[in-house]
């Protein structure tokens, strides 16, 4: 298992860089993960997406479907890609500390 450094924290991540210790996620970790996904700094809009994803996940145990993400956050899909160039699944979910979305490949 690979490791990932966020400040002074060291987290286990899988090959794709998804963290494996969801409890250790915090805002700093998010920022560090974000930089790996081509996001230099997390703006308010980034946080809107990230927080939405986390809340949804904690509530339902799954990541929301993308259409729902767009609808509920008000961002169009291309705007999500502008925020997270690697996209909602690989980018936003990773930053939000969710498990790796699967199946849809």
């Amino acid at each position: 298992m690979a490791e990932f450094k966020a400040g002074d924290m060291v987290l286990d991540v899988d090959e794709d860089g998804f963290i494996q210790e969801p409890d250790k996620w915090n805002e700093k970790v998010a920022a560090a993960l974000a930089s790996g996904e081509g996001v230099d700094s997390l703006t308010e809009n980034h946080w809107k997406v990230v927080n939405y994803l986390r809340d949804y996940y904690l509530k339902f145990g799954v990541a929301p479907m993308i259409r729902k993400l767009c609808k509920d956050t008000g961002f169009k899909l291309n705007e999500i890609y502008e925020l997270f160039p690697s996209g909602p699944a690989k980018g936003a979910c990773k930053v939000a500390g969710l498990p790796k979305p699967t199946g849809c490949v």
């Binding site: 969801p22 339902f60 799954v62 990541a63 498990p99 699967t102 199946g103």
Partner: protein, 364 residues
Amino acid sequence: MATETVKRKTDIGPPHYEKFLPPIIKKNYGKWKHHEIVKPGVLMHVAESGDKLFSVRAATPRLASTKTLRLFADLADKFSGGHLRYTSRNNVEFLVTDEKQIEPLIARLKTEGYPVGGTGPSITNIVHTQGWVHCHSAASDASGVVKSVMDELFPHFEKMDLPAKLRIAFACCLNMCGAVHCSDISILGLHRRPPKVNHAALPKMCEIPTTVASCPTGAIRPKTVDGKQTVEIIEEQCMYCANCFTVCPAITLADAENDGCSIWVGGKVSNARHEPMFSKLAIPFLPNNPPRWPEVVAAVKNIVEVYAKNARKYERMGEWIERIGWPRFFRLADIPFTKFHIDDFKHAGEYYRRSAHIKHMPEA
């Protein structure tokens, strides 16, 4: 050919096909009149204008090195004005306008190991998938089985000696990334043991609701292990489909001794005569026996031969079996009929025989 940084383009789509069409096609596009199969592997299409296009079809293993692609490019330059195409079943076709080039091209292809054939009532390339070459889900290898089977059936690729087209497909797991569900003969890799759950890893890696929902038979339910949410699998309800595995990386299925292949028959997709049909189970299980899968090869060959001997002209596998009836198919092919052959999924009852229409003298 150095890698230079280029401006990033997106959403340009594939090249327009017109760029790649030979002049004869551009000229006669949509104006073809009729065709014939000049000889196995060689189609002649005649346009309203009188123009003739010869397509020479050669086998490929689908898994091709760039070296081979370059060879094909070279052959196309030499014999077909630089024009070639691939078929929907992974054969390559050289688009020849100069009739005299046909024989030299065929000869050259043969020498290079890419024999010509697969047209008309023959066995053409096997549609197949990744297997152990690339996929995480594979219960068998794809390329190895295909190669072994086609080596054995090869005469039927080069000759058009069957009652009708015979289409074979291979898929390495129940996801069926190929037309396995609708082929004259299908080989399907499958698991036969319930998955194992890594309870330590699952809570970190999986969406539990997605995993629970993934099971066609409802064999998965949430469970707490060591204080953490995970799932358990009710083994008696599991028929090893691997869908939970697909959605959850903390689940594993591969089992060297219990994975293997099943054989299916009688599917088709064309609307010719009979409507499209699904493939039906012929042999529930044969072992994985690399590198040559002798049991699978023998089973497929036997079915092809029984079909070739008994079917009428133009009768696809499924049409033939429908005419003679499944009881006779099982007897002719000497395959035992077992309870595994009887459907027990959602629509099973639709396939019970609900009439007294029975052929009571199956040996006739």
